[in-house]
Symmetry: C2
Subunit: 545 residues, 2 copies
């Protein structure tokens, strides 16, 4: 039996485009004499469709799409993900389903049993868990069809009471198929392979896995679909971060007895590739091609610019240098040098006059009160107004350049440097931004050395340095990582060796600044715990605040 | 048996304050010879604690609080909500539990079976559903203890497969107790009473219901705890929108055979009271007392100001009038008149110079391109910068004045008039804002007549009216209501009689502006479907866009 894996970049709610890609893929598979072609979870709708699932009209569109795709399946079978309706009165209205299509029609429907509802996942919001298990017989083989999380309830800490594969296994299947929507973070591909390998080792069956690829706003799908044979050998992996299509012969893959060598990319290389894909897909799926950003001479905007240029092309990213009277001379020269290294367009706009005019406007109310954070924010917000004006006038999307460390402690001005349509580095700690800069410069100096070595500063008052009000970034980031990614409380953090005063101060900063993060742009998610849809916090909460 | 209902305004994560209120209430109940005092769901933590529940430290704090409260329960019993740990390896780590406290200790723990996971609810994100049922015997009576949603799987369209009260009923209880966290919307109190009455009619048992009161950022809890006797008579209701405490004698309530008369408040009166409570609690729980807002002379900012003054006091709300060259003369006079009617402080700041300076700053890049939305937004954003500067300088929280109709179609400037710490009217359609103004003026003219009768306008270009680019508000709001609150698709809307071209245009506006709503302040929720945590939409989605 020849089985094709089709790894596609879907677009949520873009039924026409999704369906065309699927049908093209079925035709290609047929041309190459495949017997079966496998698509991802909720392929027809794109993943995650979120509350579109509450629209009956949306479900109709999904099911109509599945019907038209089924009509293409003559002389070949296909497995494809779509929501389906629950005919029972009891329980939620929908299932998250895998449709088996053959002979030009839908021949069976298999529902997801384990519905992830943690971090970025909300599946129990929409779907009823499956409790009926049925394998499929096709061309003399028996297929156990599972959907993503269905294979993840394995190991020591079990999130669910049941295990759907245990049920399917009782029917003596010949292979496991898993269609998925498994979003990227820098350790996910590794973990995923371990989990699926555990399944193969447990059931001694070959496993075919098809994932999404491409970005849906903040959620990045890395692809990396694969085949493991029943001996536990990872026979082949599809590409990461791009669409791919490959056909495997079941007999041949079962005969493979040596694990092919693979270079595992580094964490920073993965983050780099994921972010470039994230920027690219956000723009194409939104129907935009051009970006704008404020280039300060600092490392965050420098790395953002390089990633944007890789994603959108040199000519499509316009940098605006917005020096003020507190900007050091090297800020402009470093920024110019980077834009010149990239050959990408830049302009310089002096903000002093506009800032002065705003300060004058406020003088009757500010009177002789001492300068403070209010004046600092006016500078950041003036830059924000100017960048948004250019975005509006020229139809460019403003890229936000804040990093995760800043977002965590609220070191940024709301409606100022926190503006943007998309946050590129909002899930990348400052220390990781430095690593990204090193990765970008791995062959030659693209980001000027001075941008990398100078002490980070917001340059909103004379001689300001980030370290005036924050712990040094290596300490801060280590602490934030334990608190945010690992949900360690103050006692645990102190026991780990962090200074008690710093722990208290930093946790308070994180929690009291929840109101700022509520209003930030969507953040490309590359870590196991990003700000945004995967981290849901009260705003007026009083815990550690 | 004498049973006390204690309806408390909790504060998420503020263990000290929550515990003190609970213990004070237990002491009061004891003084009044009550046998049992009932508190709300997740009382010790406040509701919803959201991802704080993922912190082991947070759960410890909840359980320590329950232990200290238990120590108070000598000569009296209490029922109180708290998260508890699931000792099993399989399943999620926590339960949403009701603790029965007596003899100075925890005598039993009862877990929630039905976990709401729709709209604003995320309970399956944290909790394992209960599958073990046990009544409690206390002073010769048998209590069936249930938690909120546990009693809601009744009627025609059943969301869950099981019904926990059916299980408990097998043990022949004498009464039903339901501890809840049931957030307000303008039809919720009515629906709630219907649902609980159906339970009483089904099981023929008296029912004691205790709800939260108070606001947790966007979620408003209206209180309205109640007692229904086994004949289905609503014996008493606790106050709405404020803390309350009452004691009932079981024998006496069972003898009531006539439904007490009650005045049901109107929808607009409910919304009014809910919003005032929402503003007040946001400020007190955040530790702020003073608000600022931009007062335009239009109806949205006028209604916002009145509500803020009711919540915070006349002297604590400062209005800023920010006329531009496109503002009509009546804008300033109407705004001044309102501030004067209220006796609340206001200032006038001319924005023309700052706008001119920003335009001049942009001239080298804008050149001779025609004026468009970019220039309009500069005005709105200049106002935003000025208001935020005042907020920063004087420690006032900026109130956002956008309404739901505008938020829906994206009629507002991001980082301009969409700024603010809290959106007061973001869940109130424009037509409802007019009704609120009528309600505010029910006894005398507070909001100037001219503010109410003039055609709505953003006043960002000469002679601009909202109706230039939007359908008339009664049509727009009716359409938005069907699309947002009832999830009707285009075909259904056209079948209902809405014009096809308007349907297409409005739905496209709603969906393409999701990116704006992603960055808006939290919105006080008064409808069954508010923007924010209860409506989760893809940003780059292509459905109806």
């Amino acid at each position: 039996m020849k089985i094709a894996l089709s790894q596609i970049n879907y677009h949520i709610g873009n039924f026409e485009s999704n369906e065309k890609k699927v049908i093209d893929s079925i035709r290609e598979a047929k041309k190459q004499n495949a017997d079966l072609v496998i698509f991802a979870e909720l392929a027809v709708s794109g993943y995650p469709p979120r509350d579109f699932l509450e629209f009956s009209d949306f479900i109709n569109k999904c099911l109509e799409s599945v019907s038209r795709i089924a009509a293409e399946c003559r002389g070949i079978a296909a497995i494809i993900g779509s929501p389906s309706r629950n005919p029972e009165i009891k329980g939620k209205d929908l299932f998250n389903s895998a449709f088996f299509l053959s002979d030009g029609m839908i021949t069976s429907v298999h529902h997801k049993s384990l519905l992830p509802n943690y971090d970025v996942f909300d599946e129990y919001r929409y779907f009823e868990p499956n409790i009926v298990y049925q394998t499929v017989d096709y061309q003399g083989k028996r297929l156990a069809i599972t959907i993503c999380e269905d294979l993840w309830n394995i190991g020591d800490d079990l999130l669910y009471r049941g295990n759907p594969m245990d049920e399917l296994f009782k029917q003596n299947p010949d292979m496991i198929i898993n269609i998925a929507a498994s979003p990227f973070y820098y350790e996910q591909a590794k973990l995923r392979k371990e989990i699926y390998l555990q399944n193969v080792q447990k059931y001694r069956l070959p496993l075919f896995y098809v994932n999404h690829v491409g970005a849906q706003t903040e959620l990045l799908f890395d692809g990396g679909s694969f085949v493991i044979n029943s001996s536990g050998i990872m026979v082949d992996e599809l590409d990461f971060f791009r669409e791919d299509f490959r056909i495997f012969d079941l007999g041949e893959i079962e005969r493979v007895n040596k694990q092919p060598e693979r270079n595992e990319p580094s964490k920073i290389a993965l983050i780099h590739d994921a972010l470039v894909m994230g920027i690219k897909n956000y723009f194409t799926k939104f129907g935009f091609s051009k970006a704008i950003l404020g280039l300060s001479g600092g490392i965050d905007s420098a790395v953002t610019l390089v990633l944007a240029v890789e994603a959108l092309g040199t000519a499509n990213v316009r940098s605006i240098l917005l020096p003020s009277r507190y900007s050091s001379p090297h800020s402009v020269t470093d920024a110019k040098k980077l834009a010149q290294n990239l050959g990408s367009p830049y302009d310089i706009i002096q903000i002093n006059d506009a800032v002065k005019s705003l300060n004058l406007t406020l003088e009757p109310l500010f009177r002789d009160l001492p300068e403070d954070i209010a004046e600092e924010n006016i500078q950041a917000r003036t830059r924000g107004v100017i960048l948004m004006a250019l975005s509006n006038k020229f139809g460019n999307i403003l890229l936000n350049t804040s990093n995760k460390s800043e977002a965590a402690v609220g070191y940024g001005t709301l409606y100022g440097d926190m503006n943007g349509g998309l946050s590129v580095l909002g899930d990348v700690y400052k220390t990781e931004v430095f690593e990204l800069a090193g990765y970008i410069n791995r062959e030659k100096e693209i980001i000027p050395e001075n941008t990398i070595i100078k002490p980070p500063s917001a340059e909103l008052r004379p001689g300001q340095k980030d370290s005036d009000s924050l712990p040094e970034y290596p300490v801060l980031d280590a602490l934030l990582y334990q608190y945010i990614e690992h949900r360690k409380g103050p006692n645990e953090l102190i026991a780990m060796g962090f200074d008690e005063a710093i722990v208290k101060r930093v946790l308070k900063m994180v929690n009291t600044n929840e109101y700022k993060r509520y209003q930030t742009p969507p953040i490309l998610r590359v870590s196991p715990k990003a700000f945004g849809m995967g981290r849901r916090m009260p705003i007026v909460g009083k815990y550690l605040a």
